[in-house]
Every structure is written in structure tokens, then in C-alpha cells.
């Protein structure tokens, strides 16, 4: 293990430790616990072919933005660079990079042949003068240049943190416009960083809470298209949708995929009472999973598909429960003050993210799957609906501002409560669902 990686892992350990040592909920202030981000440099990638200089430079910018956006890295801007990299194969002049205190250096080269784009890159530990991992190359289309950049950034992030990456991923969300009492909502999809927004529905009907399938090819969501809430499945590539039939005269909502990509768990309301059901998406066969006079909703599978976490007000207020995926006895896991909703199981399986309401404030929080080690990551007038980055280290959620002019914005925060930042979207945005890493 290189010195760079070691010092970085130490940083993570220090971040996690205070929370682990604490008994009961720990409120993490976003302004606290700031570690020193690791300084890095990405000199412009070298154009290997004529006319590749622009895209080579842009790729470098996206890589730097990805890394800086984590809050774990700090870019040393080109204006401070002493050295230049004009030949990808030439030896690195480490002294030039040490002098500006760049601890990590990313070098690369880009070639374009027709519509084909190839990116080669290397990651260097400047102070030990060693390469981190081996040089790699990614190939794709010129249209997909941002994805190539995200893939490089994912590799850099993984090599330095020892964690999986999350930059080559997408987010499906609800795009919002208009005033609060006449809000238009439409389904949209974008890269995780807000680039390449594409609309999947028009705004004729209210749409809510989209969720990706485990492979990212389909989206489940709720629409008022018929005048009544119904769940739909949409093929992202073809932008084709179909309604999933549920009982006439009832509402169906809160759909989520099981890890098998075939089973859907959802809420069905009949006669004012809401329970959780599962459905085979191909045959339409439905099975009841809960049977209580209380509200049971917002189900989410564990990554192994064996358990479901959901919210219920059977105790009198919204709380979180875990039950076997086949239904049966549920165990309450939330015991702090206030109300808990919208639980989402982490893709790593180790934690559950949730929305908490307490004393007129909303929080996004995380807890172990048995309810221990609760940590609140955010606080505002209205935060809700967490979704996990593919590596289980970052959470995206909706923040709605107060009052008549209130608007919804997407934010990300990491699971230590650090690095809260808005996601750039055209207009208002709510109900994000983060895709798995793309292939």
C-alpha cells in the first residue's frame, strides 16, 4: 500500500470513528469535521491526434470537477502549475509537482479517430514518485466523452480511496416548474453531475418518486395520468412506458424494484388503508406483504433481496421497520425522537438512509440496519427522499425551501455529513434516484 493511500484511509477512519463511538443519535454539523482535502493536479491531457486538444482539455476539466466535487480532493489550478506534460510517455518531473504540493497527479492522452474516442491515463503518487496502479485506457464515442472522463475519475477515486467510484452514473428525478399551487412535474434523467438532461415524460400529469431498476435500464414511478395514482414502468432507452395493473378503485404508489429486477414492491391503498404488496412485473401476480389498519409505505429491499425496510405509523407515528421480503413479522428499528420515513437500504447493505422529522425540522440521516448508530447528516425546513450513490458513500436528496416562493433543489451530502452541495438542474428538481454504475 502506498503512503498516499494509507494516509487517505486514515482520514476515512478518523471521519467514521467519532460517530461509531457515540451512543444514540449524533448530530453532525456540516461545518464541522472538515478534513484537509488531498491536493491533486490534472494538467491538460495530451492530444494524440490532430483536433483532439479541445476534448482532451474538457475531459481533464470533468475529471477535476468529479474529484473536487467529493470534497475529499482539492485541485491545484493550472495557473499554479510549474511543470507541463506534453508527452504522455515521458518521465514525470516529480519535483515540479512537489513544489506546488500536488500529492496526486493525473496525466492522460486523448486520441480521436472518426467518432471513436480513446483516453489513456495514469495516476501518480507525487511524493513517493510511484505510479498508483497501472495505466489504463477507455474507448468510446466522441459523443460520450463525458462518460470517458467520469470513468477515469472513478478509477482515480478508487485507487486513492480504496472505495468504488460513482461518477459514471445517472440520476432520474422529477423536474419541477411553476408555483407551489400549480406545480408542473415531469420525469427527467441526467448524468450524476447534472449534465445531459433528458425528459422522459411531459408535464400533463403529476409524476412522483421514480426509482431505477438494479441494472439502470428501467424506471418505476407513480403518475396521475388516469386521474388516480398508478405505477408505471418505463424503458429508459426506448422511453416507452406501461402501467402496472393493480386493483380498480384503489391507489398504487411507492414502487421499488427488488434486486432481481423482476419483482416490484409497492403500496396499495384500498378503502383508505395503505399496505405493502409485491408483484411479478411480467406476470402481474400480486402478493400481500403487510396487513394492518395503519399506513405501510416506502418499502426498500436489502441488496441481497431477503429483507424489506419500510415505514409504518402502526405505533402512532411514522417509524421504520424491517421485515422478511416474503412478509411476516416486522421489527421496529427507529427509536429516536420524532418521525422517520422514506428508508432506503444502502447498496453496500450496511446502512439505511431515511428522512427524519423532529420539532418542525427535517433531516436526512443514516443508521445501521438494526437501527443503531443513528447520524443526522442535514437539517432544514424540508429535506426528504434520500438515494444512495452506487458506492454507498454519498446521498442525494430533495431540499424544498420555505414559503410561497419555495422551490425544490437536489443536494448531495456524504455519509459523514460533510460536503453538502446543490446539484445543478434546469429549474426545480425533486425525488432523485441514483443509478448503479454504468457498464
Amino acid at each position: 500500500m502506498t503512503r498516499l493511500l494509507l494516509s487517505f484511509l486514515l482520514g476515512w477512519a478518523l471521519l467514521i470513528q467519532p460517530a461509531a463511538a457515540q451512543n444514540g443519535p449524533l448530530r453532525i454539523e456540516i461545518t464541522e469535521g472538515v478534513i484537509e482535502p488531498l491536493p491533486f493536479a490534472v494538467p491538460d491531457f495530451v492530444p494524440d491526434t490532430q483536433g483532439a486538444a479541445d476534448v482532451a482539455r474538457e475531459i481533464g476539466r470533468v475529471i477535476a470537477a468529479d474529484l473536487s466535487g467529493t470534497g475529499l480532493f482539492r485541485e491545484i489550478p493550472a495557473s499554479a502549475h510549474i511543470g507541463k506534460v506534453s508527452d504522455f510517455a515521458a518521465p514525470i518531473q516529480f519535483a515540479d509537482w512537489k513544489a506546488i504540493n500536488a500529492q496526486a497527479l493525473v496525466t492522460g492522452a486523448v486520441s480521436v479517430a472518426g467518432k471513436r474516442l480513446t483516453v489513456r491515463f495514469r495516476v501518480w503518487d507525487v511524493f513517493s514518485g510511484a505510479e498508483l496502479g497501472n495505466g489504463l485506457q477507455f474507448a468510446g464515442t466522441t459523443d460520450g466523452w463525458r462518460r470517458m472522463a467520469h470513468k477515469v475519475a472513478d478509477a482515480v477515486y478508487s485507487r486513492i480511496t480504496g472505495e468504488g467510484g460513482y461518477f459514471d452514473s445517472r440520476v432520474v428525478f422529477v423536474s419541477e416548474s411553476g408555483p407551489k399551487n400549480d406545480r408542473k412535474k415531469r420525469l427527467a434523467i441526467m448524468d450524476y453531475d447534472g449534465a445531459n438532461v433528458q425528459y422522459l415524460t411531459d408535464s400533463a400529469a403529476i409524476v412522483l418518486a421514480p426509482r431505477f431498476s438494479p441494472s439502470g435500464d428501467r424506471v418505476l414511478y407513480t403518475s396521475f395520468e388516469t386521474g388516480f395514482p398508478r405505477i408505471y414502468v418505463l424503458d429508459v432507452g426506448k422511453v416507452k412506458r406501461r402501467v402496472l395493473e393493480t386493483r380498480e378503485g384503489s391507489m398504487s404508489f411507492a414502487p421499488r424494484f427488488a434486486p432481481d429486477g423482476r419483482t416490484v414492491v409497492f403500496s396499495l391503498e384500498q378503502g383508505g388503508n395503505t399496505d405493502i404488496f409485491e408483484m411479478d412485473i411480467n406476470t402481474g401476480k400480486q402478493t400481500r406483504l403487510t396487513s394492518a389498519p395503519s399506513i405501510e409505505t416506502a418499502p426498500s429491499y436489502s441488496p441481497d433481496g431477503r429483507q424489506i425496510v419500510f415505514e409504518s405509523d402502526r405505533s402512532g407515528t411514522q417509524q421504520l421497520y424491517v421485515m422478511p421480503a416474503t412478509g411476516g413479522e416486522a421489527k421496529r428499528i427507529s427509536f429516536g425522537q420524532g418521525r422517520y420515513g422514506t428508508p432506503v437500504w444502502s447498496p453496500r447493505g450496511d446502512m439505511i438512509a431515511f428522512t427524519k422529522q423532529n420539532q418542525g425540522r427535517f433531516h436526512i440521516g443514516v443508521m445501521r440496519t438494526d437501527g443503531s448508530e443513528e447520524r443526522l447528516l442535514t437539517a432544514s425546513f424540508l429535506d426528504e427522499g434520500p438515494t444512495w450513490a452506487p458506492n454507498g458513500r454519498v446521498i442525494m436528496f430533495t431540499r424544498e425551501s420555505r414559503g410561497a416562493a419555495g422551490q425544490a433543489t437536489l443536494y448531495t451530502v456524504d455519509i459523514t455529513g460533510r460536503n453538502l452541495r446543490p446539484v445543478r438542474t434546469p429549474g426545480g428538481a425533486s425525488d432523485p434516484s441514483w443509478s448503479p454504475l454504468q457498464n
Binding site: A204, L208, F228, G249, F253, G272, E311, A404
Partner: protein, 172 residues
Amino acid sequence: MNTLSKVMMVGALAALAACSNAKNDGLYGDGMGGAGYGSGTAGSGLPSDPSSPAYFQQAVGDRVWFAVDQSTLGDAARATLTAQADWLTKNPDFTAVIEGHADEQGTREYNLALGARRANAAREFLISRGVVGSRLKTVSYGKERPIEICSEEACYAKNRRAVTVLSSALAG
């Protein structure tokens, strides 16, 4: 759409101006939970005509309100719903969709379920006062269609509601 419902729609246009959803054909009231309440423009016919939807909205009262996170009907709500039941009994050509709504202080899906509870509480009460169940549908908008948009209890109190939106059984 038949001629009768066309004629009736003219009166309802103002109320529906804010609604672009064609599925609102034949609805009287603030379907989609959007337009104003008691603005005098809503509904069809004259408020002075006791069998008009406008009379139902303004004189009978088309909505009831709820306490925070509750779906039980208070005295005022029961009085309004009793009057609604009487009106619906006297005017058998109308059906209704009861819209349940929540204020913004709650998570989206929970609020959908809560709105459904409220709509159903109103429906059950109307049925207990003699309205045939098949004339009454329910839908919940959760917190998606507030009427008042301030983030204060004064607004929240008006948003926690169940609205009985009439529909002519004769409309196409």
C-alpha cells in the same frame, strides 16, 4: 361529449381555467386541487339555484378540514358532510370524487396515504348518511396540490382537506 355536458362546461370553464387535464371534463369544483376556493367563479350554474354545483360548493360547502396528521372528522366537518349528503341525495344525477390532501409538512408518499385516509373518512361519512357508495370515488393528492402556499399553520390548516368534487353522471 354530449350537448348537455357542453352547456354545463361553459359555466365550469372559469373553474377549470387552471386545469389543462382533459380528463376533467364534467367536473365541477377545483378538481386537481388547484383553483381558488370561494372565489365566486367556480362551479356551474348560479349559486342561487339550489341544485347547481355552484350552490353545492358555496352554500353547502365542498370541503372539510383536518388536524395535523389526523383523518378524524370534527364537528364542523361532520356538519358540512351531512349537508353534502343531503344535497347528493336530492341531486341523484351527480357523482363525486373526494380528493384528500395533506399539508407540506410530511414526506411525499406518507402524505399520499394520509390524503387517502382523509378522503375515505369523508366518503364513509357520506355513505353513513345515505349516499350510495358507487356514486363516490376517492383520490389522494398528498401534498402535491396545496391551495394556500405560505409555510405557516394558517395555510397548512386550509391545505389539510377533503374536497368533494362533483361530476355530472350525464356528462360524456
